[in-house]
Amino acid sequence: MKARAFSYFRAATIDQALDAHARAGDDARFIAGGQSLVPALSLRLQAPRLLIDITRIGELRGVRREGGFLRIGALTRHCEMLSEPLIAEFAPLLHAAAPFIAHPAIRNRGTFGGSVAQADPASEFPAMTLALDAEIEIIGPSGSRRVKADDFFVDLFETALQPGELITAVFVPLFKADQRFAFDELARRRGDYALVGCGMLATCTGEIIDDIRISFFSVGNTPTRVKGTEATLIGSSLGAERIAAAQAALASDLAPPDSDEVPPAMRLHLARVLLGRMLGRLGEGA
């Protein structure tokens, strides 16, 4: 299929981009890597009249430390998550998740901001922002604000982002020496969207879990933090019994949707298996 005809504008600054969007109203879309938007255009699932290319806006680029956070510019490409030393050091969970996203050609174009804005419940990065307790920096006609990842993902493909607003960066608390993380997913083929996937970040005193954030993807309408499960783990070490308790708790945290290929009970089972394996690795110091 071929996309419907549209106009194209390449913005040089955030102001230009916001302004162009405001003038076009609902009929405009920002385009970053295009790896979600272009397929949607080609399938005529979306047919905006104007595309505003944000990839030349310098303010949306770059990865740097800012206070206790790593500021990851919205235009940071998936492949840079693999190559950028600051990410490997201060946001190792993102570094671990990146190779699971699609294939090199897509990782060379797809952007972090685009992935978070798209908020695909099967995507790796949106779920990782939850596990990382990240903050999403948004700019719009009425100014700039930071939204906690916990408050950002609202419903299927629906976020705190209002039409015409841009994600400028994501702020990730710096990874600390007393923290451990794990990432894994079950996908039929390497690079596919997962049947179920999970990322976790724990703060420990010795073997004892002081705090843990566990986030699943491909389990519902949004990336999903499993708070009940987290609670079963806090204050104890990761023995077999604890892990089993956490696995059992998943049932009340997750309500997987029906799908023709993966029935809800199977997805829950897979989530439990994945959780068990990852907590095992976390216990070993992963």
């Binding site: 039929r188 083929r189 596919d192 023709d260 089972h269 298996v273």
Partner: protein, 791 residues
Amino acid sequence: MSAPLTSLDRPNSYIGRSVPRPNAKRLLAGRGRYVSDLRLPRMLYAAFLRSPHAHAKIISIDAEQARALEGVHLVATGADLAKICTSWTGTLDHFKGMTSTPQLPLPLDRVVWAGQAVVAVVAESRAIAEDALELIEIDYEDLPVVADIDSAREAGGPLINPGNANNVCFRSQLDSGSVDDAFAHAAHVVEEEFCFGRHTAVTLEPRAIVADYDPAAGALTVHHATQTPYQFQDLYSRHYGIPEARVRVIATDIGGSFGMKLHVYHEDMAVVGLSILLGRPVKYVADRIESFVSDIHARDHRVRARMALDAKGEILAMDVLDLTAIGAFSTYPRTSVVEGNQVIRLMGAPYRFKNYRATLEVIFQNKVQTSQYRAVGHPIACAVTERLVDMAAAKVGLDPFAIRAQNLIADDAYPQTSPTGYRFEALSHQACLKRLHAIMDYDALRAEQAELRKAGIYRGIGIAAFVEITNPSPAFYGVGGARISSQDGAILSLTPSGEVRCLISVTEQGQGTEAIISQIVADQLGLAQEHVKVITGDTEVTPHGGATWACRGAGIGGETALQATRALKRNILEIAALILQEQPSALDIINGEVVDAGTGNQRMPISEIARIAYFRSDTLPPGTQAQLTVSHHFAPQGYPFAFTNGIQGCSLEVDVETGFIKVLKHFIVEDCGRVINPMLVDEQLRGGIVQGLGAALFEECRYSETGQLVNGSLADYLVPMPMEMPDIVIAHVETPTADTELGAKGCGEAGTAAASACVLNAVNDALLPFDATINSIPITPAKVLKALKRF
């Protein structure tokens, strides 16, 4: 096993050598010329509005707005095209009692599957044509949908074709007699019901066609990405009433086909009509989404089968019921019943037993039609037979290798006739079995499996013997009344500079047809391969022939080239003898030079003979007319098919918590007779195996209860990809056919034939400790977890 030495076994022969495909570099460099790339002057683009319903009446079509859109040249409905195109019916005479409804390019009043093309738009660009599609309104009235085998067979259930008594397309029965008796006296009986999901070809290049009708000349040229240009020349001529000589079909580079591109598709027929209506070239390239809902699918069988054995594990009999659901009608011109027919005829084919009974029932349903795709019927017959053999082995207490050694036809027992009537000239099952045992290092694999099981790691080992049908004679289609040739033709010329041009009717889709033909010509003439140019795929210049289908390029096309080259060589040597004042029999050609046959001493280059013949015929003896162009046709005779055989093995690991399967290594020992180019044969086997593994583990066209394809995109339909594919170990046994000089049989379907059977056996082997079995393909994590009762 080893045939006597012939001229093919000369030490520097091209036959048996791994030379690269001459066209590989061109294609890799992006210099391929695919129909998708083609842009003709004044060319327009077609797009089709498709039915969202699996079964519905067309009440009305409103295309006024679409017609008015700027850039739109034509909006055509079924009625418009029916005025210029006659209908076609996908039946063949030798399938007695088979029925199917006549088809037109676009439907008149009823749609029978979701995705069926209903209205065509032709516009300045594909994008404008798609804009126009959005402006067309079709009013449908739903009809009851028949979306699976059971509801199709229900007595009193909805009928797909009004006026028919039921939804049965074809029934067939085979019975060698004494089957009941054999089962009654058997020491062991194993029985199972198997399901084989639908899958489809997913060629890299989708279907593509440019039809170019010239009203001034009354001539039609069709650039068509097809395996079988002559078949389409005939069909376009007959259905559009254009004399055959004025229809030209050109099939240049093609991005994969696998059987999918030799059927008549409604869109393709429509595009020819659209070009006739407009007097301009019209292009249509199916996009991926369209391919999923309109390319033929394959398989979709449910087989109930049982096998009887004596106390020692000797197979006594098989009894089979194959139910297969095709589309709402049978595909033209090769039908949709060939797969079922081959399923029931290939069952048990590698084995010695004689008592066999089978029933085939081919059923209509509201889905896109199924038809021939790589290894037609083979994977199903192979999986059913080989799974039953493994079940029998377990019951009798024999190792899978041992039960096969006991029951496979002995290598010195040929000729043989199978209980289903297939005649085997010479196969090598036992030699292949032994070889597989060695290359798998079977005993070590079993020891490792036992060791790992103790650690909770579940590995499985599966093997599967197979027979492949190749080199088909007219018994395949010709006897059924189809104008599909089983012979091939070649025209060979010595050019003035002493090179050879070979025009041949077999075609190239990436498998290396042109490479092996040039090897054979170079070999037989005594010329360097780079001096042979092979031209294929243009009905205006290449002679009529079967082209590429089943497995026939090397076996039939290769023999055609061989005999044509020998004729040309005779003619060249005749002229050489006149010039050199020798007897032709005293001369030979080696490396482009005429030499003394006895001593090998060089006498003169063949370029010199060409020069004299073309430019200085005055120097030849009076009355000499040099014939440096020859034409030759070859039709297979002797056995109606050249059967090949082989065996595959698979080692895999099942994650019993997730149901995920990792194939660790795959093995094949294959006997395709004379191997012309080992590298190309190995590529065919690897590619075939990968397609078989795709079917075994990933590929399935899944439908909703309302007949909607629910995974019709490459995001949801999983094709096998490199990361999941194992290393494939290949070995050969060579048993040439004596029906031809060349001795080559086919190898294109061997890989696909048994790969899924191997995986099925290996997965069941891995699950042995759990008392869980799988009998359905593809084997998905969901099926494994269900069998293990994990959710």
